[in-house]
């Protein structure tokens, strides 16, 4: 294999990997506050993408994305107010099942609000045929946008969870909800904030990847499955882990394509994911002790 080809597979892996990573990050936020997996995360991406696409003919692109992010965050808040808060027994299993139900409802609503057609946002830089030459390999500028936005989100979340009072309160809720409440943290509001934050980040992700993956009412599910696998691989709750996990899976897929038929791509990626999890059940960057304390 020539150097250009090697680089091209590498870039292809990074493209897919960065998409997986940005989805995985959304899972981590709600997990960090509530200890549950929000299976409607993929639908937040779809909502963000679809809203921005609907707005983009009328307002400039950055504004359309901003409004889409705000609207989706509102949807996140409404979901928490109407459903999650009202659960009589908010056990992990109950909440997980509720989020699965939610994902189906949001998908059906989107089907009726919009329709079954595929849409996409315009490329942020250049257009469909623009490509950047990196040492003989080619890449769409949109991939750089995805990577850049993922990096900004990771840094933002790192700072937010480590250094702000709200972020730290949210982490406290995840470690021990009773202790957090005893310390005077309003745990219910923290859950609301976490839903809003993950919906907002999901929406932003949905917008950045839309030119590459295209957006359809049911595109959330398949994205969420990969994102979920990546979140586990990287260590649930760890955003840097999500990026490393995402790029790892992306690269594994890309290089499996280079030697084996494309059809085996997912099988290879998932098998290696399983092997890693047998060896390191807490994921690549997850802490073993922390995992033992969690319910899920």
């Amino acid at each position: 294999m020539s150097f250009e080809q090697l680089l091209q597979y590498l870039l292809s892996g990074v493209t897919n990997g960065s998409i997986y990573a940005i989805v995985a990050i959304g899972f981590n936020i709600i997990y960090n506050t509530t200890g549950i997996i929000n299976f409607a995360q993929g639908e937040f991406l779809m909502l963000g993408g679809m809203t921005a696409i609907s707005l983009s003919p009328y307002v400039p692109l950055p504004l359309a994305i901003l409004i889409a992010v705000i609207i989706t965050a509102m949807v996140g808040a409404v979901v928490d107010f109407l459903i999650i808060r009202r659960l009589k027994k908010p056990t992990v299993l109950n909440m997980v099942i509720v989020t699965i139900g939610l994902s189906i409802i949001i998908r059906e609503i989107a089907l009726h609000l919009w329709d079954e057609k595929v849409r996409s946002l315009p490329y942020f830089t250049g257009n469909e045929v623009t490509s950047i030459n990196i040492l003989g390999a080619y890449i769409s500028p949109q991939v750089l946008w995805v990577l850049g936005v993922s990096a900004v989100i990771v840094i933002f979340l790192g700072v937010f969870f480590k250094f702000t009072l709200t972020g730290r309160s949210m982490r406290a809720c995840a470690s021990n909800i009773t202790a957090a409440r005893l310390c005077g943290i309003n745990t219910r509001n923290m859950v609301t904030i976490s839903f809003m934050l993950s919906a907002a980040i999901g929406a932003l992700a949905g917008c950045v990847i839309s030119p590459i993956t295209q957006t359809q009412y049911d595109c959330g599910t398949s994205l969420a499955i990969k994102g979920f696998a990546v979140a586990i691989l990287g260590g649930l709750g760890n955003s840097t882990g999500a990026i490393i996990g995402g790029i790892t899976i992306g690269l594994l897929e890309a290089f499996s394509i280079s030697v084996l038929p494309l059809a085996y791509k997912d099988a290879i990626a998932i098998s290696i994911l399983l092997i890693i999890l047998f060896l390191r059940p807490s994921g690549l960057l997850g802490k073993k002790e922390a995992v033992e304390l969690k319910e899920f």
Binding site: L111, E116, V129, I212, Y217, S222, A254, L262
Partner: protein, 384 residues
């Protein structure tokens, strides 16, 4: 007579006209089942098909039905899922007792219900393309879209003129993709074309740069993509992004202007075989399909405010072939089936249909025209 008995008697009497009117209505309507993937990954096919069928049934009923018999269309959304198609087909045949079924939209679904319709002695006019639907011939199963093998041959003809000898194929992992891939591989040798690489991608694939890198490394002279899913636009974009400057050929599944819009500038120069609907305006006035195409296109576009696609055209053909069969054979399943089987020279959107007991598709290679994309529009492909 006690009050209770009187009430019962009253109820019975009141039911009689109802019973009569029911019976009368049943004699005057012909129930037609339709299985389309209105939602899901094949919604590009199913949605325009369902809209077309509804529009045409309304039009026929407004004009007094077929010999005074009204049509009743029962549309089921299979979401592209063969399992759902199976249960809908059973439901339509056994519970609704339909006269015939049009659809399903995809080849995979059609193959699953082929035997069910055959056993239920119910006419099926499929809107899916794969050749296996009518080869081997099943007595009650017809299809309206053109043959895969003719599409493949049309592509190879262009390749031969362009001097393309070694190609790479990518196809989706659904019924349509698999059937097309088989035909491409089968006919390659006869046409002196060498397939250097043939890859299958997931029908929900969102990025294909990896597999295209592999094709690029093999130095293919052209790429053929065979699918009906949105990946058709993605592949065009990814090829440009990878700076691959070989021609891209697509199947007749590309016949929807929305795919062109999604691919934007990357769609320019894609070559694909297609029915004449997309270039109806450019056909000469004396072309036998001109009137049918223009009328369908105008009606569809004014009714739904969106561009007509060849897929909606397949539903038009399936329904109109069936209607023509009923007109000629009468509202009797066996006679209508026989009438369809012997129908000749029927001008539809997909071509001029000439059915025979051995050919339940009725179209030949002349049904195809090679098209290309120029300035975001479909135009006839001219050899350079």
């Amino acid at each position: 007579m006690s009050f209770k008995k009187f009430c019962i008697a009253l109820m019975c009497v009141s039911l009689i006209p109802g019973a009569f009117s029911c019976k009368k209505q049943a004699g005057e309507t012909i129930k037609i089942g339709a299985i389309f993937s209105v939602t899901g990954p094949a919604s590009f096919l199913g949605a325009p098909e369902a809209k077309t069928a509804e529009m045409m049934v309304e039009e026929i009923n407004d004009k007094g039905g077929i010999d005074g018999k009204m049509l009743k269309l029962i549309v089921k959304d299979s979401a592209g899922d063969p399992a759902k198609a199976i249960s809908f087909a059973k439901q339509l045949i056994e519970e609704d007792k339909v006269f015939a079924i049009i659809g399903p939209s995809t080849s995979g679904e059609t193959m699953k219900i082929k035997a069910i319709c055959e056993e239920g002695k119910t006419i099926l006019v499929s809107c899916a393309a794969a050749e296996v639907i009518v080869n081997p011939v099943a007595k009650y199963v017809f299809k309206s879209p053109q043959k895969d093998s003719d599409a493949v041959q049309s592509i190879y003809n262009v390749m031969k003129k362009k001097g393309i000898k070694s190609i790479g194929i990518v196809s989706s992992n659904d019924g349509y993709g698999t059937a097309g891939k088989d035909q491409l591989e089968k006919l390659a040798k006869k046409n002196g074309i060498q397939i250097l690489i043939s890859e299958v991608y997931d029908k929900k694939a969102t990025d294909l740069t990896g597999v295209l890198t592999k094709l690029k490394a093999k130095n293919v002279q052209a790429v053929i993509n065979w699918s009906i899913v949105p990946a058709q636009s993605i592949i065009a974009k990814n090829m440009k992004q990878l700076n691959m400057d070989v021609p891209l050929f697509q199947s007749h599944g590309f016949g929807n202007i929305k795919y062109v819009k999604e691919a934007g500038e990357a769609a320019e120069g894609i070559i694909f075989p297609c029915g004449r609907l997309l270039i109806a305006e450019d056909l000469p006035e004396n072309h036998p399909q001109k009137a049918v195409l223009m009328k369908y296109k105008k009606n569809y576009e004014s009714e739904y405010g969106e561009d007509a696609s060849t897929f909606g055209g397949h539903a038009y053909d399936s329904l109109m072939i069936l209607v023509e069969g009923i007109k000629r054979g009468g509202a009797d399943k066996e006679k209508a089936r026989g009438a369809i089987e012997n129908m000749k020279g029927f001008a539809g959107t997909g071509g001029i249909f000439n059915f025979s007991p051995a050919d339940h598709n009725g179209l030949d290679i002349n049904a195809f025209e090679m098209l290309t994309v120029k300035g975001g529009k479909f135009v006839k492909y001219e050899d350079k």
